[in-house]
Symmetry: C2
Subunit: 261 residues, 2 copies
DNA sequence: CGGTTAGTTGAGAAAGCTCAACAGATGTGG
DNA sequence: CCACATCTGTTGAGCTTTCTCAACTAACCG
């Protein structure tokens, strides 16, 4: 139905995503760890992290991934205020993270696709600060944090890797704050689409043709606007020939122009 | 002029703020490290971090603080894209961090007062992701990151402390995203004032009477609104008897009602 | 002391929200 | 496998909030 290079998380994880994987998977260590690139602060320029791990270190990391956990669509990997014990890496599928305000307001703080981390906000107070909800049937690698910490004590590069993971999350959130604080609805959606496209591309999927697993409402909740506004902006991009939206199937026609919105 | 318990960064740092300090200060280690509490995600409830450092560890931390750097009002401690080498802790004065968008738009991502950290976003890509600008003549403790890292390798608790520092920044930014994504102008300013009040209180200053070092425009730039709107909201709070704003001098009259805005 | 900057307030404009109607897609039980 | 119910997405019209532009005042600075 779709072009074969389209992101479809029901397919097996592409090999480049298996760097943190089920320890029972025999060829997991054969694959070099890709550079983790931070979310684009300015445009789509992605800055690679300077330190990549060696095969030995990937093996060490694999050795503490004791379990792979499956989460069904709509179910929660963890909830805000749950005791923090592990970090997670999305292996297949996708998630959203949601911060809850006392008055019932929700703010989506991110969408996570394979290779993305979950749970970094929980280290601070020993309890998670958000809900992590599967947008489809998904699997994650579970990294018990205490074990990750002792691994970091033994390996400088592993330590640096964890620090970069956390710092990257800080940078990602800063760029979302800028989006929420300074951009129009049109710019927000353009930024969102280009960011998602870049992340898919970085992971070996198509950067021009993909399927959104989240609803218009969830997109709006990330971007600080109402679902109707999201829909109108999609229609506008369509009319102007920049994006071909077909429900949740998105085709980016003119990324250049989209980035100049 | 002001009550003596009012926050005035021109005064010497209060003793409870000296936990990370100039190594030449002889009594620096006499003071226990206070718990670092994350920014309030829900209301003002502050959650203490479970791990505090021992006196020995504070000494270790002090031992790598090789320099105290002075930054004059308006000058930059570091700029976006500067090479990342050190983390900083505000010792006296205050800062703002600003993320720049390619089209010239600026977003303030935070105000830092004594005890707050600066530079955590730089670890990710080896370069800083924002400008850190002094809002008044200020001093910071410089912690060379490579030394901090090796200290972390030797001390589990120090490692955990750094992780909590970073995670706390992630949580803080999440809560600002929620503010920007879901709140009205009135709610944003109320949240901002209560958050600032709580931070001053946690550091031993007055939580009801303090001086803003930032302009209305800078507040607006943090909260995603124009300076005129900030001003109007201050006037509204004044008229309703919740806040007594006198230019940059702020007196919080009814925190309870403010939190229910 | 004059010039500049920061803050306040008002009036009109604009962006995005609310409410509502409708269309398509999806899912479910008979 | 169909009929019906439900959910998701689109579009329109009017409304609300916030922005923009402007005038004015107060504070600050050289």
């Amino acid at each position: 139905m779709y072009a074969e290079h389209v992101y479809d998380p029901s397919l097996p994880t592409p090999s480049q995503m298996r760097w943190v994987t089920d320890a029972t998977n025999p060829d997991a260590n054969a694959v070099p760890l890709p550079a983790v690139s931070p979310g684009p602060v300015r445009s789509l320029r992605s800055v690679d992290m300077p330190t990549n791990l060696t095969v030995t270190e990937i093996q060490q990391l694999d050795s503490i991934v004791l379990t792979t956990r499956h989460v069904r669509c709509g179910e929660k990997l963890f909830r805000a205020r749950d005791v923090f014990q592990s970090l997670y890496t999305v292996r297949t599928g996708s998630f959203k993270t949601v911060v809850l305000h006392r008055d019932g307001h929700e703010q989506v703080t991110g969408f996570q696709i394979p290779g993305d981390s979950l749970g970094l906000g929980g280290i601070c107070a020993g309890m998670h600060n958000c809900d992590a909800i599967a947008l489809e049937d998904s699997t994650v690698c579970v990294m018990p944090f205490s074990q990750l910490e002792s691994l970091c004590s033994r390996s400088h590069r592993m330590q640096r890797y964890l620090h970069q993971l956390m710092s990257r999350e800080i940078v990602r959130e800063s760029s979302l704050m800028m989006l929420l604080g300074t951009m129009t609805a049109e710019q927000r959606l353009a930024f969102f689409l280009l960011d998602l496209a870049a992340r898919f591309r970085a992971r070996g999927y198509s950067g021009t043709h993909f399927n959104l697993k989240m609803s218009r409402e969830e997109i709006g909740c990330l971007l600080g606007m109402k679902l109707e506004t999201v829909s109108r902006m999609f229609s506008r991009f369509h009319k102007e020939g920049m994006v071909e939206p077909n429900g949740k199937e998105i085709r980016i026609i003119d990324a250049e122009r989209l980035s100049r919105v």
